[in-house]
Amino acid sequence: MLSAIPADWLWGLAGGLLIGLGGAVYLLANGRIMGASGIIGGLVDRSGWSTWAERVVFLTGVFVLPILLLPLTGPVDTHITDNWIVIIAAGLLVGIGTRLANGCTSGHGVCGISRLSLRGMVATVFYIMAGGLTVILFRHILGVI
């Protein structure tokens, strides 16, 4: 039966469970919400400076584990665009937007929706709609991405 389901979906589900498990550990052990933009942003604007070590160690875990896994999976192509203007504009928008909204896919999406947070659900609806419209505009109409 499993063979009828594309492997990518199953890897997505398995990876998703690990992501949620990471969020559960961060919450139940340290009492923190696992939001990537908040963890990074608190270091950047120093609003989370009092917990800098925890943040740096968390991000180190995020950065290092794929390095350890790569020998098992072989090279991974991330298919990122080679248009530097698009990359820089996207990074700036993600940085400003997530801090203005106080969360991203992990904070509002995973941690917010799972506690039935209205803010998390509303944020998720808006960033998915904006993302969808952006792809339609820049891929199908302008042909940039």
Binding site: G15, N30, F58, L92, R99, H108, A123
Partner: protein, 143 residues
């Protein structure tokens, strides 16, 4: 112990992002692209992640975090301009590059120069965000 738990949590997060394919920008854009060759993988990732996280939230009431301190108080259910505008800006950037903050860190070691440029731009955006917020609030008081 806090740092040990933080590393375990970050490691699980990074492993999950890596194995789920969410550091592949084409899969993220493929999910957002409902008029193209739609790729439902992201929905499986999101669904998979919400299950353990929902169980964790159910365990919170009446307990304390293992490493001490308190659990975060539920946020006020305020839907302000900053939440909506910020999410729209974030979504636009997410759609443009196919990267959000978590996967951008997980993919740094193997994604190539584009990923470093993205993270640098994201950090720059985060650095100016408090100023943007103040300017916005001054122009049109919102929340």
């Amino acid at each position: 112990m806090r740092l040990f738990y933080a590393f375990i949590a970050g490691g699980l997060f990074g492993t999950g992002l890596f194995l789920s394919g969410m550091t592949d920008t084409s899969k993220v854009q493929g999910w957002l692209d409902i008029f193209g060759n739609w790729d439902p993988t992201l929905a499986f990732v999101m669904g998979g992640a919400i299950i353990p996280m929902a169980i964790a939230w159910l365990l919170v009431p009446g307990r304390k975090p293992l490493a001490g301190g308190e659990f975060p108080a539920p946020p006020a259910p305020r839907l302000g301009r900053n939440l909506v505008l910020g999410s729209i800006l974030f979504g636009a950037g997410w759609g443009l590059a196919g990267l959000c903050p978590g996967p951008s860190i997980a993919s740094l070691s193997y994604g190539g120069a584009g990923h470093w440029v993205f993270v640098a731009a994201m950090i720059a955006g985060m650095a100016v965000a408090p100023g943007v917020r103040v300017t916005l609030d001054r122009a049109v008081p919102a929340e």
